[in-house]
Structure formats: structure tokens, C-alpha cells
């Protein structure tokens, strides 16, 4: 950045005596640090210190009120054998997979169609983006009514075509499908628009060349579009992993009316209890702050691990 106007190195025209200049430089630096300090101060108080404190807490037993008691590795040892935690990982991954794969497929197909449709593109983009900006609480309430066992639209549709009704929010698979449907609805349009932006960076003469070589639409998509879309796919997959594996509001609001013990319990048989719901339950329902901190670190590890796996999968496919 040779052209950046550094205050300590003003352009020749502005140079006065060097003494004045040097004093001015120090003064300006002080202002620069002051200007960026609010963020770093906030981060120190509400970011860095909390994360450090979380680590410290995870080696202790604490109910948030009394004295902290050293526990060594006991919290983590318990975490490894805690079947509730493992089943919450399972729930999270199943819901994530049920939501993410249809979502990416739908988003890609939608993006390809949007890319070839010339008219009304802005109308479509607006409408497809809408689900992503709306309040998840309000939307989860609406989806709760759609999947309601007694009067929900889903069951009315099933009944209309002569199929058996499903107790969506009362069975393990029904719960997962309902949460995944909500997530797919919320993120498909957003990802379609991301894919569309990726598609628009692909030069049109590549398509022309493929057409001249006699490639059909499917072949063109697999050989030209998909490889060039890989960076975008990577972005979409990593964002979906990080957000999807930390889902909280969707199951919490959707299942709060069928939850019997607490609003963080994840519905009947805890079938919708995701990792983050389990964290909230342990911490703020049971007031087990020490174990809660250990669960939080466990979640962090799972999210990092799956992000790396996704990254590797997409990258390796690129080497073929």
C-alpha cells in the first residue's frame, strides 16, 4: 500500500521542518489508536475475558452463586461419557444434513434458473431473500402451526390425499423434519443469491466454447459451471455448517409448546435437542456453569472439526 497516506510519512509537499513533523506523527498515532480502541476494549471485556473465563470455568464446579470448586478434568471426562451430549450431537448432525443437502441442491438449481431468466430478476431476488431477514421466532411460530398434529396444514394435506396423519412435533423424525424444513426455507433463497453472484463471475465465452464442443446442458453444468462455482460452494457449505451446527432458536421456539420439563428440552424424547439447546439447558436450567462451559468447548470442537471436514471434501473434489 505505497499510496496510502500514512500520517507519519506525509507527501513531500506537506513537509515542514522535521521536528514539527515528528511530533505531529506521534500525536497522530495516538489519535489512530484511540479511534480503533472502542472495539478492542469491548472485545476485551465481552470477548477475550469471557473466553478465558470459560476455559477456567470448565475446570471447576460452580452453580453461579456459591464458591467455585476445582474439578480438574472431571467435567471433560464426564462430557465424553455423557450420552445426552452425544445424542445432542447426533440430533444436530441429522437436522443439519436434512436441511443442508436439499438446500444446496435447490439453491444451485434456483441460481442457474435465475441466471438464465432475464426478466423480473430483481423481483425474484427480493422475494427469495425475504425468508432470511425475517425474525426466526415469528417464523418458527408459523411453522409450528403448519406442522401441528391436530389442525396443521401438513396433516390437512396428507388427509386430503388420503394418507395417514403424522404427529410431526411429537415423534423423533417428525421433529427433525420440521426443524430442517424451517431451516431449508430460511436459507435456500439466501444461498441461491450467493450462487447467482458466483455464476455471474463465470465468463460467457466458456459456455460458448462448451456449446461449440457439443456439450449438453447437464454436461455443461457438470464440466464448466460446477468446477468454477467451487469457491462459492465452499463459502456456502462453511457458512451452513457453522450456522446449522449451532441451531438454537428454531428448535427452541418450535418445540416450546410440546416441551414438558423445560423450554430447552427439545421436545418429546429430546429428539430436537441440539448441542446449543443442551448447553442452555445445562447452564441456565440446571445452573451448572462449570459443566456448561465444558459443553460449550465441546460444541466449539465439533463445529471446527466439521468445518475442516467440509473444507477438505470440497477442496479434494477439485483436484480430480
Amino acid at each position: 500500500m505505497a499510496t496510502a497516506p500514512a500520517l507519519d510519512k506525509p507527501p513531500a509537499a506537506a513537509t515542514g521542518t522535521t521536528a514539527v513533523h515528528r511530533r505531529k506523527g506521534v500525536l497522530s498515532h495516538w489519535r489512530l489508536y484511540a479511534a480503533i480502541s472502542p472495539f478492542y476494549l469491548l472485545f476485551l471485556c465481552f470477548g477475550l475475558i469471557p473466553v478465558g473465563f470459560s476455559l477456567y470455568l470448565s475446570f471447576h464446579r460452580w452453580d453461579g452463586l456459591g464458591a467455585m470448586e476445582w474439578a480438574g478434568l472431571a467435567q471433560f471426562r464426564y462430557l465424553l461419557t455423557d450420552t445426552d451430549f452425544w445424542s445432542s450431537i447426533g440430533n444436530t448432525l441429522i437436522i443439519w444434513a436434512l436441511a443442508t443437502f436439499p438446500m444446496i441442491l435447490l439453491a444451485m438449481v434456483t441460481a442457474v434458473m435465475l441466471n438464465s431468466a432475464v426478466r423480473f430478476k430483481n423481483v425474484y431476488r427480493f422475494a427469495y431473500f425475504l425468508p432470511n431477514v425475517t425474525s426466526i421466532v415469528a417464523v418458527a411460530i408459523v411453522f409450528g402451526s403448519v406442522f401441528s398434529t391436530n389442525f396443521g396444514l401438513m396433516n390437512a394435506l396428507l388427509q386430503a390425499v388420503g394418507l395417514d396423519q403424522v404427529a410431526w412435533l411429537n415423534t423423533p423424525w417428525g421433529i427433525k423434519v420440521a426443524i430442517a424444513t424451517l431451516m431449508t426455507w430460511q436459507w435456500t433463497g439466501y444461498n441461491a443469491i450467493i450462487f447467482l453472484a458466483g455464476l455471474q463471475t463465470i465468463p460467457s465465452d466458456l459456455y460458448e466454447a462448451a456449446r461449440i464442443d457439443g456439450a449438453g446442458p447437464v454436461q455443461t453444468f457438470l464440466r464448466v459451471t460446477l468446477p468454477l462455482l467451487r469457491p462459492t460452494l465452499l463459502f456456502v457449505l462453511v457458512v451452513s455448517t457453522v450456522t446449522g451446527l449451532q441451531s438454537f432458536a428454531e428448535p427452541q421456539v418450535l418445540l416450546q409448546t410440546t416441551a414438558n420439563e423445560s423450554t430447552f428440552s427439545g421436545g418429546p424424547d429430546h429428539a430436537g435437542r441440539t448441542m446449543v439447546l443442551y448447553f442452555f439447558q445445562q447452564t441456565f436450567d440446571n445452573n451448572d456453569f462449570g459443566y456448561g462451559a465444558a459443553v460449550a468447548w465441546g460444541i466449539f470442537l465439533v463445529v471446527v472439526l466439521f468445518s475442516i471436514i467440509n473444507w477438505r471434501l470440497v477442496q479434494r473434489r477439485g483436484e480430480d
Binding site: 472495539f39 473465563f53 453461579g64 422475494a127 431477514v133 432458536a249 409448546t257
Partner: protein
């Protein structure tokens, strides 16, 4: 030519599929309208009502009698507006420094900023709660506003924007005129990046308006909450009995956000997508 007819047919099919997607996207909003205009008895009946009914005002009256809708609406506005104003100021100020100046430690500080992106909410939640409790902020809107007053995403995004939008000659010229750092920021940088500020502002407002997990923990007084938490309480207590009223609450909570989004949609969609492809 037959091929023109064929491509027109394909065009119609294409738009037919795209319109189906559009209807799916819009359907839950329509469904909220349908449900909020019926009584619970009508909602519980079969076959389901597919068209809006006539009990909207009745549901609204029930809603206002049951929860402090305007109180929580004001709380949400207070939080979203204050955070947006603070974020716009602090983020653009820091971004200006990172985009246009050199100083010792700049690279390290910026790397730290990127790292902060990755820290998940759960790792901060417990200690934040403890710190807030010590400060006496738990239960008040301060506990939502202060930690959100500046953020890594906004600084990073504004820095990218300012790097290309503000020409170095402009800053040089203003310095020759004797403008100090703050005047360069206020009179030279900010007017140029107004579209970028609009994006960051709308994005921040929507994020704060929809924020749910942290307010749910931090706002311990059930009578003094944000709209999202009030809505969740309403659903928790009346969700199995008075569906029409709960749905009315959901619908009314969506409206302010839809207005903000409609005002800034073009910019939001374009800028977010650009950032993703670049990143």
C-alpha cells in the same frame, strides 16, 4: 424458426418454476395473515381455512390485553437503533484507520480482528452473564446494547469498502488544507461512503431486531423484554390455546422488519452476495 418457439416455451416453463419458488418463499407470510384473521375455533376446524377471515381486530385487541406489545416494541427499537448508531460510528472510525493509515502494530491488530470472527456465542455466554450480573446490567437493555456497540464484521466490511471508495488524493488535499484526523474522517471519508453506511446500518438493525438467544438469557424480568422474547413467551403460554392471537403477534413483529428490508433490499442483497463471492 422452430427454435425461437422452443426457447419461448422454455422461458415460460422457467418462469413457472421460479414463480413456484417465489410462492413457497412467501407462503409463511400469507399463512400468518390467514391465521391471524381467524378465531381459534375456526383454526382448529377441518378443512383448514385457506383465505383470510374477519377476526383480525379482535385478535389484535386480545394480543394487546395479554402482552405489553408496545412496551417490548419500544425496547426492541431502543436496542436496535442505539446499537446501529454506535456500530456505524465505531466501526466506520476504526475501518477508516485500518483502510487509510499506517501505524505500528496494524497488521497484528487486524489479524486479531479476523480471529474474533470465529469465537462462538456459547463460549462467551456464561462469563458475559456473570460480568453483566456484577455490573447490575442483567434485566436491562444495557446488557444488549453495550457488548454489541462495535463488531468485527462491520469493521472488516467497512475497511474493504473504504479502501476502494475513498481516494487517497482526497485525504491528501484535506490535510494540505489543515484538516486533522477527525475532520478528515467526518468531512472527507463519511460523505463518500454513505451507501456503505446504509448497508451496514440496515444489516445491523435487522440483526439486532431478530436477536433472540442472548436477550432470552439476559432479560430476566419477564415484564421488560424485547419483542422477540415477548413473542416467544406468548407462544409458550398461549401457543396451544389461542393460536389466532399468537399468530397476530408474529405477524405484527414481522412488519417493521419488512419495511426496513424493503427500503434497503437492493443494496443488502447486492452487497452481501458480492462479499461472499469475493471472500
Amino acid at each position: 424458426m422452430a427454435s425461437i418457439k422452443g426457447s419461448r416455451g422454455r422461458g415460460v416453463a422457467l418462469h413457472a418454476v421460479l414463480v413456484c419458488g417465489l410462492l413457497l418463499s412467501a407462503f409463511p407470510f400469507y399463512w400468518a395473515v390467514v391465521m391471524s384473521t381467524h378465531t381459534s375455533t375456526e383454526i382448529f376446524s377441518y378443512p383448514p381455512k385457506l383465505l383470510p377471515g374477519s377476526h383480525f381486530t379482535e385478535n389484535v385487541r386480545n394480543l394487546f390485553d395479554t402482552v405489553d406489545f408496545f412496551g417490548s416494541l419500544l425496547n426492541s427499537l431502543l436496542v436496535a437503533v442505539s446499537v446501529t448508531a454506535l456500530v456505524l460510528f465505531f466501526d466506520s472510525l476504526a475501518a477508516f484507520v485500518f483502510a487509510k493509515f499506517d501505524f505500528p502494530g496494524k497488521r497484528a491488530l487486524f489479524a486479531l480482528l479476523m480471529l474474533i470472527f470465529m469465537v462462538p456465542m456459547q463460549l462467551q455466554a456464561i462469563p458475559q452473564f456473570v460480568i453483566m450480573a456484577k455490573l447490575g446490567w442483567i434485566g436491562s437493555m444495557t446488557s444488549l446494547i453495550v457488548p454489541a456497540a462495535a463488531n468485527a464484521f462491520g469493521i472488516f466490511w467497512m475497511r474493504q469498502y473504504m479502501k476502494s471508495a475513498i481516494h487517497d488524493e482526497l485525504i491528501d488535499a484535506s490535510r494540505l488544507d489543515g484538516a486533522g484526523f477527525l475532520r478528515q474522517y467526518w468531512h472527507v471519508a463519511l460523505p463518500v461512503v454513505r451507501p456503505g453506511l446504509a448497508f451496514l446500518g440496515i444489516f445491523t438493525f435487522m440483526g439486532q431486531w431478530n436477536d433472540y438467544a442472548w436477550p432470552l438469557i439476559a432479560l430476566t424480568d419477564p415484564d421488560n423484554v424485547t419483542l422477540q422474547v415477548a413473542l416467544s413467551q406468548l407462544n409458550g403460554t398461549h401457543g396451544t390455546t389461542d393460536y389466532g392471537m399468537v399468530m397476530t403477534g408474529a405477524l405484527l413483529a414481522l412488519v417493521p422488519l419488512l419495511i426496513v428490508f424493503a427500503l434497503g433490499a437492493r443494496q443488502i442483497i447486492g452487497d452481501l452476495a458480492k462479499g461472499a463471492v469475493r471472500g
